[in-house]
Each structure stands twice: as C-alpha cells, then as structure tokens.
Symmetry: C2
Subunit: 775 residues, 2 copies
Amino acid sequence: MRKLLVLLTLLPLLQACQTSDAEHNASDPPAPTKNLAQYVNPMIGTSRMGHTFPGATAPFGMVQLSPQTNFEPYLENGTYNPLTYEYCAGYQHKDSTIIGFSHTNFSGTGHADLGDFLVMPTVGPLVLEPLKTHEGSKGFYSTFSHDRETAAPGYYRVALDTYGITAELTATERVGFHQYTFPRSSDAHILLDLVYNVYHHDHKNVWTFVRVENDSLVTGYRQTHGWARTRMVFFAMQFSKPFTSYGHEKYDTMTYNGFYRRFNETENFPEMAGHNLRAYFNFDTEEDEKIKLKFALSSVSTEGALKNLAAEIPHWDFEKTRQATTDQWNRELAKVEAETITDSGMTTFYTALYHTMLSPILYEDVDGRYRGLDQNIHTSDDFTNYTVFSLWDTYRALHPLFNLLHPSRNNDMIKSMLAHHDQSVHHMLPIWSHYANENWCMIGYHATSVIADAVAKQVGDFDKAHALEAAVNTAHVPYFDGLGDYMQYQYVPEDKSHSSVSKTLELAYDDWCIAQLAKAVGDPEVEKEFSQRATYFHHVYDPSIGYMRPKLANGQFRADFDPLDTYGQGFIEGNSWNYGLYVPHQIDTMIAMMGGKERFSQHLDSLFTMELDDKYIEHNEDITRDGIIGNYVHGNEPSHHVVYLYNWAGQPHKTQARVRMIMDAMYGPTVEGLGGNDDAGQMSAWYIFSSLGFYPVTPGSSDYALGSPLVKRAVLHLENGKTLTITAQNQSQENVYVNRVLVNGQPWDDFRISHADLMQGGEIIFEMSNQPTPR
Amino acid sequence: MRKLLVLLTLLPLLQACQTSDAEHNASDPPAPTKNLAQYVNPMIGTSRMGHTFPGATAPFGMVQLSPQTNFEPYLENGTYNPLTYEYCAGYQHKDSTIIGFSHTNFSGTGHADLGDFLVMPTVGPLVLEPLKTHEGSKGFYSTFSHDRETAAPGYYRVALDTYGITAELTATERVGFHQYTFPRSSDAHILLDLVYNVYHHDHKNVWTFVRVENDSLVTGYRQTHGWARTRMVFFAMQFSKPFTSYGHEKYDTMTYNGFYRRFNETENFPEMAGHNLRAYFNFDTEEDEKIKLKFALSSVSTEGALKNLAAEIPHWDFEKTRQATTDQWNRELAKVEAETITDSGMTTFYTALYHTMLSPILYEDVDGRYRGLDQNIHTSDDFTNYTVFSLWDTYRALHPLFNLLHPSRNNDMIKSMLAHHDQSVHHMLPIWSHYANENWCMIGYHATSVIADAVAKQVGDFDKAHALEAAVNTAHVPYFDGLGDYMQYQYVPEDKSHSSVSKTLELAYDDWCIAQLAKAVGDPEVEKEFSQRATYFHHVYDPSIGYMRPKLANGQFRADFDPLDTYGQGFIEGNSWNYGLYVPHQIDTMIAMMGGKERFSQHLDSLFTMELDDKYIEHNEDITRDGIIGNYVHGNEPSHHVVYLYNWAGQPHKTQARVRMIMDAMYGPTVEGLGGNDDAGQMSAWYIFSSLGFYPVTPGSSDYALGSPLVKRAVLHLENGKTLTITAQNQSQENVYVNRVLVNGQPWDDFRISHADLMQGGEIIFEMSNQPTPR
C-alpha cells in the first residue's frame, strides 16, 4: 500500500513527462525519479537470431548508433557467406572484433539494409580497409572484450583493445555523439567509411559525396540501392578538435572519372565523391585526450543535417547528452512500472519494453522537412513523420501496444502512413517501408489493420475518411502481389502466386479491417464490399481434410500437400497446421468450420505437443529448435495470436499455462534472450502484452483476450492521465493459472476486455493459482 | 535615311522588349516586326569541330532539345572511338541516322556531358537498344535526310524515314515540346532512353528513377558522373494522349537488387529505378495522328519540373509555343540590326549572334529554386541563376558582348558566380562550372575578369565588395592548379605543374583584374598585392631568346624548348610563339620587353605568314589546317586578341586587313562555318565584335581596340534605351582598310574607344578603303 502511495504522488510528474512525450520536446524537462533504464540490457537478442543491436539511441530516434562487428560477407571462394543473415543489426555477440560504429541500424528485422556512416578511431599507420588490406595485412578493425563493454539505453562504451582507445557513444533523436579517449599518439585517425553497408560491404552504394567544410566540420551524403530501392541519407559531422590533415581513397567500380584532373584530389582536397570511398582525418593526441564527434543525419540535405546538429546538441558536454537521453528513456519506460517475480524478470521485461521503442523511427528534420516516397521534400505540418514500418510484423501487437502506451505517437505514425499513401504512385499505404522507400516485404496490406485498430480504440485525430479512401485504394491495386487474382477468384490461386493461402487469409483479415473502418466512417457500400471480401478465407479451407490448403485457379485444391511443411505449400513463414489458424477476425466461424471447439482444441494441443520432424526445420534460417515448441513457432509472427485461441474454445486455462510457458521458453535476460528476430519490436510487444495478462488477438477490434500475467504488479501511466494497475495476486513461477479476474473490484467473467475498459484506469486483479479454475 | 526613320519608330517597341528581357518574362509580349530569325542557320558549325547543335531552344534556355545522331562510342574491338570528340553536341552533319532527341546539350564546347533524356518515336516491333540489339539486329535509330530536315531558332523538324514519322521540336526556357506525326499503327512507341549520354552511352549514369504518375504523365530524374562529378536532372514528361501500356528494361551493372521482388515490375508497373534503364510507352495511332509531348526539366526535384511544365506551357498548341519562342529570338536578335556586304553575310552574322545566346543557360525553376554547388537547394531571391560557365573561353569576348547587349543578364550571371563562390567549399569563383558542379576545366580564374570588366563598364548592381572578397579568396587557394607555387615562386615552375607558362601569364592577367576591382572598391592593400602579382609574367620571359619560356623551380629556364610546339612546352592550346603574346593588361610593357614595336610587328607578321610544319598539327584534335593561318590558331582562344595588337605596334592597317582575313577564312554560312569549337559562344562573340569594328582586347578595362568592320551598317539597341549606329562607308569585300573614323561626326584618332563612348549612343562611321591610310 505504501508503494501505491508513492506511485500516486508521482503521478503529476509522470503526466508532465507524458505531455513532453506527446510534444516530442525533451528540452531539459525535470529528471525522472525512477531509474528503470538500469533494468534494460540492450545486449539481449544480440546473439544468434534476435537481430537486435546494442548501440546508443534515443526512443524512436533516427540515429541508432551501434558497433558493427567483424564479418565477411563473402567467403574466400567468393561465394556469399550464409552467416550473413545473422548480421542484420551489424553486431553478433560471439564476435571479438569491431570495425566501427554506424549511425543507422534496424532492430530485430529479418532482412538488412542501413549501417550508414561507419566511424572508427585508430592509431598507428593509416589503414583504410576494415577487414584485410589489399596487400593481405590486418584491416582497421580492433579486438574487444565484453568485459570492457557497456550497453545501456542511450549509451554504449567499449574498449578498442587494438588501439588502446575507449569509445563511448550516446545519441539524441537526430544526432549521434561519439567520445573517443585516445592514447598519446602523433598518428591518430578517425575513419569515415562510406563503403560499409550491413550485409553487403561494397555492393549497395549508388553514390557518396563528402565536403570538408572546414578543419572540423564535414558534410555529405550516401545513396544506396539495397532493400530500399533508392535511399539517400545526408550527414553533418563535427569534430571537437581540428584535424591536422585528411584525405580519402576510392574503391570504385565506376572507372570513368570525367575530364582529367590536374591536381591532387585525394589529400587535403575538400571535395570527395564516388561510388565507394573511405575518408580519414588525422590528429595528434595526448594521453587520455578525448576527441568528440557529433554526427547528425537528415533525409533532406546536408543543410538539414546541419540544422539538426545545431538544434539538438549545441554543446560538447557528452555527459549532458547521455544524461538527457537516459532521462528520456526513463520517462518512456516509466509508462509501465512493473514488479516481476524474479529480479531477472525485470531485465527481461524492461528490455522488451525498450525494444518496442526502437522502431518505427522519427524521420524528419527539426524543421519538419522529410524526404517523401516520391523523393520530393515534404513538410509534416500537422504531424511528426516516422519511417521503418515492418507492418506484417508490427500490426499484431506493436501498434496495439502504442495505442495503449503511446497513442500520440501512433497517431503520428498513421499520419505518416497516410502521407506515404499520398506520395505513393501506386496510391497504396505502406507494406514494409523504410527511408522513403517501399520494399514490398511480406504479404497483405496491414496498415489497414493499424488504422482500423486506432479507430476502434478511438486513438488519434487523423482524417478517418481519408484513411478509408487510402485503405480502399490500397485494396484495389490489381498488380500488387496476388491482389488482382484475389479480387477475381475470391482467393489467391496457388498456380498464380506463391504463398497463396497465407495471402488469402491475410487479405481477408485486412479487408475485415477496412470494413470496420468503413463502418466507423459511415460508408455502408464500402463496408459491404469488404465485409464480403473478409469471408474469402472460406475458399482456401478444405473441409475434406480439415486444413487450409492451396487452391488452383481451376477451383481444385492442389493434390500435392503437406500441412507441416513450411515451403511450397501455400504459406510463408508457417505451415498449414499453424498458419491455418489465421482467421483473427472470425474466430468462432473458424472454430465451427474446423469442426467445433473440441476438435479445435485438439488441433491446438497437437500444435504444442507434436514432435516435428527435423526435415521441417533444417532449411529454415529463422528458426532453430530453441525457437519452436512442437509445431508452434513463436519466432514467426503468424503464431502470435494462437495461444490465446484456447479462450474461444472454452479452455482458457490452456492459454494461461501455455502463454507462461512461451514467455519462459522464448524470452530471457541473456544475449540469447529472443527466440527469433525481434521483428522491429513485435516479439517484444507480444511479451509486454502477455506479461500484463492480455493480448490484442484481433487488431481492428477494441478487444483484448485475457491470458496469464507474468508481472506481480504493473502500473500503467496512460496518456489520458489515468492510471491502470495490474495486480497478480498470489503470483509465482508455478502459479500460472488465473482463477478469477476482478476489474475495479468487480468479478470479470468474460475472457475479453476492451480497450475502453483499460483506458478508464483503475485496477485489474488476477487471482493466480497453480491449478486451473475448476470448470 | 528612310531605314533610319523606320528604326527610330521601332525604338519604343524595342525598348519594351528589352524591359521584358530584363525581367525574363515572355508572357505574350507584342510580336517583333522584324524577322531576323530567318537569317539564322543553326546547322552552321554542326560539321567537324564546330560542336554546335541544330536543335530547338529559347535564348539562354535550360532546355536545349536537339537530335542525337548515330555514333559508336566504342569500336568493334572495344577500344574508345577516336571520333567521339566530334560528338560533343551529339550531332554530326555527315551522319544519316538519328537515335532520338535529347533535352540538354552544350553548344560548341571542347568536352562533353549532358544528352539527358533521349526521346525517340518508333513504330513496329518494340526495339529498346539505339544502335544494335543484343541479338545483333537493327537498333531503334531512324535514317534521315537533310532534305527533309529544318533547323531554325526555337524550331527543329526532321522526317524519321525508317518509321514514316515527322518529328518537330520547339522549347520554352524550361520545357521541350515534341510533336510527332505518326503513320497509322497499332504498334507505335515513344521511347525514353535514360542510358544515353553524350560521349559515353552507358558509362556515366549513377542512378535513374522514373515514376509513371498516370496514363499520360511521367516524372523522374537522372544522376550522372562525368565531366560534372555529381549531376542531377529531374524531369516531368506529359503526353497529349494516354499510352495504352508501358514498361522498361534495365541494363544494369549493379546486380544487387535488394530483397526479391514477388511481382512483375517491368510491365505496367509505375516505378522504375536503376543504373541504366530504357522505358517505352505504347500507343495506337491513326494516319497522320499527332502525339505531343511536353518535357520539363528542373535541377531541384520532380515537383520543380512539374511546376515548370505547368507555368511555361499550360496548353497543347505546338504552333503557339513555337511562335512565342521565335518571337523571343527575334527580340534578342533585333538588339543588333545589321546589314552585311553579301546576303550570306547576314546568315553568318545572325547565326553567330544566335550562337552567343546558347550559354550560359538559365538554371533555376520558375519559383527561383535551384541546386547549388553544395548540392543543397537555394533560392535566387534577387537574381536569376545561370550555369554553364566556360570561363577560360568566354571571359574574352562573350561576357564583354553581354556587357554591351545583355547587361542585365550579365549582372545575373555575375551574381550566379558569386552564389557559386558562396556555395563552394573551396571558396572559389567558378572555373568551368555546369549544373551545380565545378569541372575545373582549363586554367586561371577568369571569373575575376568577367567581374572586373562589368565593374569597369559600370554594368550591374552586384555587391562589388563581396565580389572582391570572392576574387581574393579564389586567388589564394594554394592547392588550386599551380596557384600555391605561383604565389611562392612568382611564377609557376614547369617542374611542378604542366602548362606552367600559360598558367603564369593568365594568373598574372587575372590578378591585374583583381587589382582593378580592388581599385574600384577602394581597397589599396589588395590593389597593391594584386598589382604586384600582375607583373609576374616577366618571370617567364627569357630575354636571351625573346620568348616566353618554361622556368624551373630552381630559377633556370628549361633547356629543352621549342617555341612552335603545342605540347610539353609550358603552354596549353598554344605554343610560345602565339600564346607568348598573352599579356593583355600590359601590352606596351610586353612590346618593350620583346624589343620594341618594330620587332614586335615582325613577330606578329611571322605568326600569320610562317609555314608551320605538319608535325605541329597532326596530333591536335582541335585544329585542322583549315583552322589556322600560319601559326595563328583562331580555333584556340589564346590567339583571339592577337590580331588587334598591331594597333599598339603602330600598324593598325595590319589589324584591319588581317581581322577581315580571319573573319573570311574562319567563318561562313555553311555547316563547316566554324574554324574550331564555338566554345560556348566565344568564337561567335569574337565574330560579332570584329564585324562591328572593335574588340575588347583587355577585359577588365573599359577600352575596345578598333579593327575593321565587316558590316555595312549595324544599329545596336542598347538596354539603356540609346541607339548606336555603326556605318561602314564605302564598304566592300576589298575595302578592308579604315582610313578614318568619325564618332558622332568628330574624327577619332585613337585606336581605342571606351565602353562609355559606345553606351552614349549615336553613330560611328568607318571610312573604308582598299588602301591603308598613308602613314
């Protein structure tokens, strides 16, 4: 009770912080009193397939400044290194060498891009190649040890043992701040490697351009062609101390160099441009001398980067910036004040919460200008623009979590998606978009779900009629990935398009979302059209075998079929057994279709208990044995709602037990603590919801399904000023069953609870037990 | 006398036009009454080394839309085709095939770039390669005949015989207008070739990007790395009729294509991007159906191109645009109303005048925004921005001609140069700049001359103190092409830098210009510094042999020396015999240094009369026997002032006879009518001045030297409202000598006349004879 009082007295302060968050203005607000950042370990997920990064960033910041460890994208024989996939975030915990610090990184994605502007301090003879020089000697990489490495929200430090340099990093939203403590040297360097890209060291660059504005300021840009078709990032880089000299080397595949140049342009010549180049800046250093570096990004221009630099870090006080960013994290993390069963549970919980705030990222300059999908420069007059929308992943739990914890940001994200639509030559909402590019990754058009979910939960002030128009436009583009066939056949024929069943199921769900949106806007015609399309999942269900199954254009189900195989069976990142449970919008219908509650429960049971043959696993680069439970693959998103489906089958205790089992098995406080790619925060958002005891099984509706909380207690400070307390009475590792739920003192019999119920604040009490409630 | 009256009554109209010119606003002003455009033949100089283009453009227009004829940049064996140099402007009159129409071209330059956005209409099976398909069959080129080809100011027409298509082109300043008359076809195409570049068909592209906005509007950009290091041009392309389908093919050297794409992106998919791509748009056409195409450019963005398109041609009336541009040309050409000795002389004269208005070109959008040298977007708040500054050529006569005929434009050009300085990381005025890039071509920093000349002639309202600062900054950049050594040694040592004598001479002259500027601004310290530097030419004169001669860092003249050789003797585009006469700012001193007037005259005589050995000519790609007179090489600019030097030696009759000889030998009304590269209008500007009877031997002073006019009469309508009439009495082919000059009725004994004398208007009478004035 004493703790509750403390929390109540904190409320005004926390509200103040939330206001600050809503305005995205962090200029010296009062420091938060709780140090929740201490529980965050950014190293979690940096091993194997988590694909997270340990570097320094502000919440939702554009700059994500992180070490890049040594890997060879190509093997000695010139073939592609199959380990490359591990390096989506540039860092693998097993490595012992670092090649530098890059300013952009994805968190937890299943494909890579970025790694822009690799900076590396060195001493001794100048070496410009990261891994190995052309002569075969050692590259500029340094060895390092995790013993002399620290990662925290907004701060990263590592000892670069090869050079005796300590590197420290922090960041504001648009500016990275480096602090390098050098040994005494008359031969110290800071390298700017514009060749390096995550995945492909030298295959993605379209163009790079560098201007040495004066003896301590450098600007430029890089343009790449990778996952993003045409990506431009501009920078401004300011040193705390003038360099004594500088230069660059080109590694160009474009040999034509225009008219002959008559004077030396490689040393102390302030303009550099080319396909692939690396620049260096030379210094004399005293023992323990700190050279600092501020590195601002912009999507617009070097002028924009300079504005960002001046606005966000107008000083050279590294500690001040570090503290401000730590404070910013503490304010964000304090939106949920949790107590967990174990101490390490705090780490797992707050690291997951941290991981939900690494994407989408801010994507505009301090003056509101940003590069649009049409490559023109736009101004976000009435919103804040975001990018990195991994929507096939994040519509499930991440955006719903934003509706709970960051509704203002989610409103801005939806406005960003609408701007994307307005700038799209296809007149489409984003599918998977980053840095003013649509990369078309994965299937469906799940921005419609994010929008419908916000509407259902009354989040935001975006133009709903325009949002409906954008959704309808999106859902009518005939050349988009099976959509034309889907509209024609009422399912995606497998002989026309791969992953046909997955596409049919997801489009049907997305169409249901559009129908919900049309209903909210009051457009009965559109509502009717899309309510109809929402039923198309029926057409890929084969009642003769009781599975979703690929169907051909001639109306016949495909003969050759294995419901356990992930490849070539009409599914993507799943098989019929698990992905076939994807009808989140008409669950009761699905259960009836599949033979009723009893049979459906058996199907779910088999999912968790079967012994999956090795042949179904060995070729899946995402999944290891650790990442699956039976045929339940938590590392791939199509399963994320599945454990909650027991509720609909009348067996909530199985949801309760198994959700706790999944949390236990798939998450942990170690570097291996993610059972698969974090997928831009979706895996972590699943954990946060599940830890709190409820989950958005059907985004686009306002309902959550109840599970089994993992926290002992959590106080949610909502943006509307209300406080929601979740209390798990009699909570323990073993007490995974919920015998009774009380909402504000009243027993709660439904397994659903609505967003409105949560937003009114108050207390939800879960009465925990090691036995299910007697039925 | 009747003619003079007519001219006087025209005056108010012409003044109105000049006002319009000054404002760069050509929205439907009254049509000019004189058709001077009829005398212009844009074909002049399109053969051999003139390097002019025959296409359609507005005066100083950004769009220069011209046919590109068929040439192979690489020979069958893969080596570079030595004929490439002929194709600087994309067109050679000898060719019989056309591969399309490009929107940017240089006029008369000695190196190439541009050729952006090649458009070609075809019928029949789709062919996407210009010369030869990958299978070895015929490319999309068409044969054509000069019999069915018309070129006029602002208009070009050609019959594309292969396809039975008539192509017509016109242009406003920022928009090209195509009109294609097709045969009946169900298989008609308009190709947009983004691979083609002048010189290097497929080696310059950095990136290309295309968006099909709807069924008749396409936008995009191209980024190249050629003479310009990093050049971006954006476009918007509107068809008068919707295409039925479209697509593209890529010819990429970048193989990485990001994530796998899951649907067809080559046909009817509205986004295209890549290193090298060609797009096509398909149509059905009726017999004689016209498909029109408006093609706008911008340096800023596709948004900028769309604005330019809407502002400049808001209709589909091809004839209206053609007429408006013809009117614009007639207004510009009418600034000099000339009568020549022969009819064909009118063609030579007005074509030369036309060629002086093809560069520099306008370089900003209708809203004043343009890409700066720093690659940021700037707005020309108080001026009009220009680019294409071939200053080593054009400071001599072209910019001085602008001071006479287009002072408002020259003022804008100087402001453009100052903006260039302000955006330059080197803090330098332009050397040879185009499209927001410095290409560093040739030597010296002659923007200083252009500025000093304007100041001396009281042209413009640019900030003179800032101009001086910019000039001084430029003259102090130590790493610039020999400048550091020049400052240290007081000459450029030949063992430190090639073309050392040329550099020393030109820097000394440029420094004199800076001194003049400092004097005008009132900065005695700078004046003193640069007056001192202006004398450095002394240090490369070897009195023991009477020639300018390369000197080594040790102070010794180089032993090995041939004053007639153009290569490796310390000169560029000249030899000691002719280039050694380059002390335009201290001619009397030079004459004294070289042994006095008599010996100097003999040197000049030898120049024009010697028999130059073949060995001095054969390796010079610029010069043929036709382009030289003795050792006088008119095709290279360092000789341009030389013929006027006889005046200073007391032998003006030799200036008179030989300037007429040069005009006769080096210019003519045929396609071979230029004895060398027109060099962005410098050759033509020399002709205009010389035809009028005077020449700016020393830009930076207000003086002209008199020569021998070629016109019978010329009326100059000056921007100040005054009229200057030049009358050559008793003019004929043979009467090349000027026996007497009368300025407003008063005998004029000086061989010099000042700009102020000209600008007050009135009449200059040259009394011509076939005999020199008795001495």
